[in-house]
Amino acid sequence: MTQTEPKMVDVFSDVEIDTALATNAAGFAIAAMADTNPHIVTLTADLGAVLAEFRERHPARYIELGIAETNSVSVAAGLATCGYLPYIYSMAPFGILKCAEQIRTDLAYNHLPVRLVGRLTGLAMGIFGTSHHAVEDVAVARALTNMTVIAPADSNAVLSLMRSTEHHEGPIYVRISEGAGQVYAEPPAFEFGRWLRLRTGADVSLIGHGMGVGLAVRAAHELAARGVEADVYDAAFLKPYDADSIVDTVRRTGAVLTIEDHSEVGGLAGIVAETLGRNGVSARVGHVALPDEDLEVGVPADLYEYYGLTPAGVVNKALELVQL
C-alpha cells in the first residue's frame, strides 16, 4: 500500500503547544460540516461554549441537555433512529466514562451513528483533581463492540478526522487531545483504520496517539542526533487499529515504545503488546503512559513532566529500550 506523505511542521520552529486546538478545531469542523449536512445535530451537557460557531449558524440543531451526560447519550440515540447524525460534545471523564453503559447499550449494540467528541482528555484538567482525569476512556471505549475510536494528533488531524466521521455506520469516539504539539502542516489524508508513518528508522518504533504523536516526532529528532533512528507512527485509529503496521515496524526495529496520555492499562500500550503476542513477534516493548496507580494533581505541564510525557521523557525511555 502506498501512502501520501503527510506534510508536517518543523518541530523546532513551530510553537510547542498547538494553539488551534485550544481554540477549538473540533468546534469549527462541526459547524462547517453542518453547513452541507442538514442531518447533523449537536448535543452538549453544559459545554455549549465549544459550539459557539455551530450555534450561531445552526441554532435549531443545537440541543443543550444540561449537566446530564447519560441522558444526552440516550437522547442522541433516539435522534439517530430518526435519521439524524448527532455529535455530542462533552468533557471526556464524564461524557465517556460516566456514560459507558449508555454508549454500549444504546449506541454500540444498536449500531447507531452517534459521534462522541471528548474534550479535555487525559490530564488536560489535571489541576481540578482526579475526578477530572480521563485516562481510562480509550480502554473502556475500545472494549465495546461496534465502536470506532479515533485520537487526532493535532488540530489539522482533528479537521481531517472529524470529516471522516460523517459517513460511517456505528458510534465513534473522537478523543480530542488539548495538550498536543502541532504535527501536521495541513489536514493529513487518513485511510480508515490505518496509521500514518511519519518517519522511517531502523532502530526503534515510536507509536503515539493524540499528544503522544507530537512527543514521538520531537523525540525522534533528538534520538537522531544521538545516532538512534526512529520509525514513527500516528496511531490515530485505536479501534479498528492498524495491526499490520505494528507487526511491520516492529519486525524491522525489534523495539517499540508507545506514547499516550492514558493509563498503561487498555490503551495503545495494550494494543501493541496484544498484537505482537498474537502474531508471535518477539521484541523489546516499552510504554510512556500513566501508571496504574493514584495519579498526582497539578497543572497539565507539570503532570506531563512528572510522568515523562515530554520529548525528553520519550527519548530516555527509547534509549533504555535500544540499549537493553
Binding site: 444540561g66 440515540a77 433516539g78 433512529t81
Partner: protein
C-alpha cells in the same frame, strides 16, 4: 395503514389482553424462563395501544410518520411478540423460535433483529431518554407522530428517567407520552418499600408534565385517556400513570406477584392458568 383510533369494542380489547397472557404463557414455556406477572400487569395497555391507539404501517416498519412505541420495561417483550406477529410485522412462525439461539425475538427486544421494535431495551431507565430524542426529532422534522414509552414503576428509581423528564418538558414535547405500569412491585418486593416513588402524579407534574392517573386494566379508561391526548403539536408531555396489579388475570399470581416475577410454570400449574384465562375468554 393502521390509523389512530381504530374502532374496537371493550370486550374485544379485554379478550385481546387475555390472548396476550395466553401467548406469554406459551412463549415462556418455550424459553424455559420468563416474566409472567410483569407482563400480565400491562396486557390491557399493550392491547389498547396496538389495537386502537397507534398509527402504524406493519408493512413498512421504518415509515417516518409512524407513532413510536418503546418498551422501557423490556422484560415484558413476551407480551409484545405475539401482537407484532398478529399485526403482520413478521410471520407467526417466528414465535416458535423464541428462546432459541439465532431467534430475532429475544426476552428483551432488539431493534436490529425484530421489525416493529423502535428501540432496544433491557437496561432500565434508558428508554424515556431515547423517546425524548425521538420526540425531539419529530419536532425538527415537522412530523406529527407521537412517541409512547411504557415504563415500569421500579424503573422510575433510575435517575436517568428524571433527567429525561426534565428535558422533555424543557423542550415542550407534547408529542411524548410516558405510560407507567404502576403495578407496585419490583423484582425484589413492593417498589416503594425499596425506594419510595410516590406520589407519582405530583412528581411528574413538578417536572412540568401533564399527569393522568387511571385504572390500567380498565380498557375504557385507557381508550378514553389516549383518545383525549393533547395534539402532538402541544407543549406539555403527558404521563399516564396506569395503576395495575402485578400478575393481573391469574388469581395465584395476583396473590403472590413476586413469586411469578421470573419463573416457569410447572405443566400442572400451566394447565390451571390456561384454563383460568381461557375460561374468561369464552
Amino acid at each position: 395503514m393502521l390509523e389512530r383510533g381504530r374502532p374496537i369494542t371493550s370486550a374485544e380489547l379485554n379478550r385481546r389482553a387475555d390472548w396476550i397472557r395466553l401467548q406469554t404463557v406459551d412463549l415462556i414455556e418455550q424459553a424455559g424462563i420468563g416474566h409472567y406477572s410483569s407482563t400480565f400487569s400491562c396486557a390491557e395497555i399493550i392491547a389498547t395501544l396496538y389495537y386502537h391507539v397507534l398509527r402504524l404501517r406493519p408493512d413498512d416498519p421504518q415509515w417516518p410518520d409512524r407513532d413510536r412505541f418503546l418498551l422501557g420495561k423490556g422484560h415484558v417483550a413476551t407480551g409484545l411478540w405475539p401482537v407484532l406477529a398478529d399485526l403482520g410485522y413478521y410471520p407467526a412462525e417466528w414465535l416458535k423460535q423464541f428462546g432459541k439461539i439465532g431467534s430475532p425475538l429475544n426476552d428483551h427486544p432488539n431493534m436490529r433483529l425484530a421489525p416493529g421494535i423502535d428501540f432496544s431495551s433491557g437496561s432500565l431507565g434508558h428508554n424515556l431518554s431515547v423517546a425524548t430524542g425521538i420526540a425531539y426529532a419529530g419536532r425538527l422534522s415537522n412530523l406529527d407522530y407521537r412517541t409512547f414509552v411504557l415504563t415500569g414503576d421500579g424503573e422510575l428509581q433510575e435517575g436517568q428517567v428524571w433527567e429525561a423528564a426534565m428535558a422533555a418538558s424543557h423542550y415542550r414535547l407534547g408529542n411524548l407520552v410516558a405510560i407507567v405500569d404502576a403495578n407496585g412491585f419490583s423484582g425484589a418486593g413492593p417498589t416503594s418499600d425499596a425506594m419510595n416513588i410516590e406520589p407519582l402524579a405530583t412528581r411528574f407534574e413538578a417536572f412540568g408534565w401533564r399527569a393522568v392517573e387511571i385504572d390500567g386494566h380498565d380498557v375504557d379508561a385507557l381508550t378514553r385517556t389516549f383518545d383525549e391526548l393533547p395534539d402532538p403539536s402541544s407543549s406539555q408531555p403527558t404521563c399516564v400513570i396506569a395503576r395495575t396489579r402485578k400478575g393481573k388475570g391469574v388469581a395465584m399470581m395476583e396473590e403472590s406477584p413476586q413469586a411469578w416475577h421470573l419463573g416457569l410454570l410447572s405443566p400442572r400449574l400451566r394447565d390451571r392458568v390456561v384454563a383460568e384465562i381461557s375460561g374468561r375468554m369464552r
